[in-house]
Symmetry: C2
Subunit: 121 residues, 2 copies
């Protein structure tokens, strides 16, 4: 029996702590999807609602408020008639790009794998 | 007013779909933490429970079962007295390393930022 306990518990915690910090802000079904949608361009509320499939207006509003509070997303009111509201990523929100790219790449591989496995042998 | 709608809706969906696929498997508070814990070495149940701060045995068991079902985690029963059970990442689980590293790096920056902001000016 070979166990591969290379990391002591404190060292493991050192790696887990930043993951927890990140997940505190990002976890759940919607936030990362909203951030990807905004990474691809500034959006208005309705546009985001169309893009992030399945999200309700109420949930989108709640999630945007939390992302704003954590300074990842900026809400800009334009003085047009009628007034228009636009959402964009802050520089801080943009700093999540490597996370989003890694997740997207993994998701692509995952989908490819599932589709291959689903084929009849 | 300048809007930066560089991506058309179908193009946005193309990026969102793999993110959704990945989140279907990984979202929630615990799974990524469990995967990080296993990335750092094979573990027994109790060890993981100690490392992933705040998780209950019931939740850890549920999450491990789901990760096993999705073939990210492998459960090995060793024929010792008493029997020991060890959890490890599959190669597929290991392929999440870039995601976990990106998340950890961002979490580290995030913590640094929060701590700096919390300092009195």
């Amino acid at each position: 029996m070979t166990l591969n306990h290379t990391m002591s518990n404190p060292e493991c915690r050192r790696h887990l702590l930043p993951i927890r910090d990140a997940l505190d802000i990002l976890s759940g079904k919607w936030k990362l999807q909203i951030l990807v949608s905004l990474l691809l361009g500034n959006k208005r509320f309705r546009e985001m609602q169309r893009e992030v499939d399945g999200i309700t207006a109420r949930m989108l509003s709640k999630e945007l408020k939390e992302l704003e509070m954590n300074r990842l997303v900026k809400r800009t009111v334009h003085d047009t008639t009628p007034v228009t509201v636009e959402y964009s990523l802050t520089d801080y929100g943009r700093s999540l790009q490597p996370v989003l790219t890694a997740l997207e790449n993994w998701g692509l591989e995952h989908r490819r794998r599932i589709l291959t496995e689903a084929l009849p042998v």
